[in-house]
Amino acid sequence: MPEMNTASMPDIVFAILFFFMVTTTMRSETLMVRVKIPTASEVQKLEKKSLVTYINIGPPTDTRLGTGTQMQLNDRFAQVSEIQDYIAQEKASMNEADQPLMTVSIKADEDTRMQYITEVKQALRQAYALKISYSARKGEN
């Protein structure tokens, strides 16, 4: 039986490896709020991940903390008033040329009251983070 030449296999594997090393984003924060994002049919993809800042809104996953709507910025619960500092911080960590392109993705649970969202929106306006995206899953509806 003829043997297959596998000498180039490490090269191929390395190529794939580099691809994943470059595309992967290690920062995967653990969600502390339960977010079931709504579905919508007309969603657009947010292309550049480095330009996107996330705000998670929903009831806490730990039910001992109650069922009220909470907001998670980075790895902790936060108040709406803390958004401005958070946005300023995120903006500062960005490339200067990218700063005006910053998009804030609002990942909110579908049962959230609009009042909370509106407060967040107002805070974002004050922080001059005007490009927002209502996170939604692509779905038939």
Partner: protein, 211 residues
């Protein structure tokens, strides 16, 4: 003295593949490829100091989409008012009312040049489109109550965006004989200028009903 013409010993590289496979599996598991998607919006800049930046919009140029505390939708303009009790009605599947997207499309186009729909202005959009009348100053105002659910709000937003997307698709078919997705960036800009998304998300109000 040792002889210097010794052969360099070959490195056994057969385990290289195993090591790199291991690394590859690690990155495969760690990487999350899912791209976030959503409805993109642009917020108005914060109001400057004391002076209120309220823009006067003519009644005929305004389509108010109001989502109340019971997640019902009211669409009102100079032509009249329409109520939608749920999402299926919004999409025109039940209830026999015109779907929200059709209301929005009719409003944005004003093909009949009705005096109750936004005024038409002739504008030049360049090469294949030319000078066409458009409702340049129309505004779709989406308003909500404090206790409206986010889900209902997104559903309404989605229907309005759907109306614009369908208009752009129709525009692309009409002027470029192809689908919107296949246009070049330049052509897309032309179509987007022809049907700009003029959606206003109003300042928060509490219309009552919600606490």
């Amino acid at each position: 003295m040792a002889k210097s013409n010794r052969k360099v010993p070959g490195l056994n590289a057969s385990s290289m593949a195993d090591v790199s496979f291991l690394l590859l599996t690690f990155f495969l598991l760690v990487s999350n490829m899912d791209v976030d998607s959503g409805l993109a919006r642009r917020l108005p800049p914060p109001p400057q100091s004391e002076e209120q930046t309220s823009v006067d919009v003519q009644r005929r140029n305004l389509l108010v989409v109001l989502v109340n505390a019971q997640n019902e939708t009211m669409v009102t303009n100079q032509q009249g008012t329409e109520w939608y009790a749920n999402e299926a009605e919004l999409r025109g599947e039940v209830g026999g009312k015109p779907a929200l997207k059709d209301k929005v499309k009719e409003f944005v186009l004003n093909t009949s040049n009705s005096s109750e729909l936004p005024e038409l202005e002739e504008q030049d959009f360049g090469a294949p489109i030319g000078v066409v009348p458009v409702t340049a100053s129309h505004v779709v105002s989406i308003q909500n109550d404090a206790t409206t659910s986010y889900k209902a709000y997104i559903a309404v937003q989605n229907e309005v965006v759907r109306a614009y997307n369908e208009l752009r698709e129709e525009g692309a078919r009409k002027y470029f004989n192809t689908s919107y997705g296949e246009l070049t960036e330049e052509q897309k800009t032309q179509i987007n200028d022809l049907y700009p998304q003029r959606i206003s998300e109003a300042e928060p109000k509490n219309y009552g009903g919600g606490q």
